[in-house]
Symmetry: C2
Subunit: 109 residues, 2 copies
Amino acid sequence: MQRDEIPPGTLYLLILKTLARYGVLHGYEIANSIQQSSDEVLQVEEGSLYPALQRMLIKGWVTAEWGVTAGNRRARYYKLTAAGRKRLAVEVSQFERVMGAITRVIQTT
Amino acid sequence: MQRDEIPPGTLYLLILKTLARYGVLHGYEIANSIQQSSDEVLQVEEGSLYPALQRMLIKGWVTAEWGVTAGNRRARYYKLTAAGRKRLAVEVSQFERVMGAITRVIQTT
DNA sequence: TTATTGCCATAGGTAGACTATGTCAATTGT
DNA sequence: ACAATTGACATAGTCTACCTATGGCAATAA
């Protein structure tokens, strides 16, 4: 099954939502989770994910802490901040608004 | 009512669909039509529209012809090619596939 | 006659996702 | 014991494509 690119602008939304759902995850888990919950359609490349997480740290949407995984490897664990939770709400409503609009355009006969 | 940016990658889809619907339009009409049929949510900036139309000409999705509007002004009229029609089908199915995937991710509790 | 609207166009900025590459440690395979 | 694989993070550089800002020019309106 072929996988698609993440539409620019939606990666924050996907990451924020995933963290809201699971609480605390490291980067690798975030990527896998998005891939799974999208039924393998969305593939988050590492070269997209880690820069995005850095930007989100700077924006104050998440905090990070180094830890150790179940498999005994070091990993950076991310958690939503209050600002991140707020941002998620904004991203969701924007997504719905815009996607609804596009759908209206392409569904009209 | 606030308007939103066009999500990168969807402008071609919107233009192609609009041309498929109305046949022959000039740029200004395309922009206005998208704005209207999206209930004023999507605003296509001229600085986005005309470069996009140029790219679509190069890709062979549309042809252009100079003419005169009802208001007696010169305008460039665009029409879909067969390749453009094919491309529209691709864009629509990609859009549905990816948007469905994102919706699955953000709707899961 | 000046302002506004219709219509096209381009230059330059910017965001953000991609590919390619690298590191380093733990596990698995031989 | 050593090699290969996997897990996990990171960055540099490229590219697409949308934006803002700007400009021109002709037709109509004030």
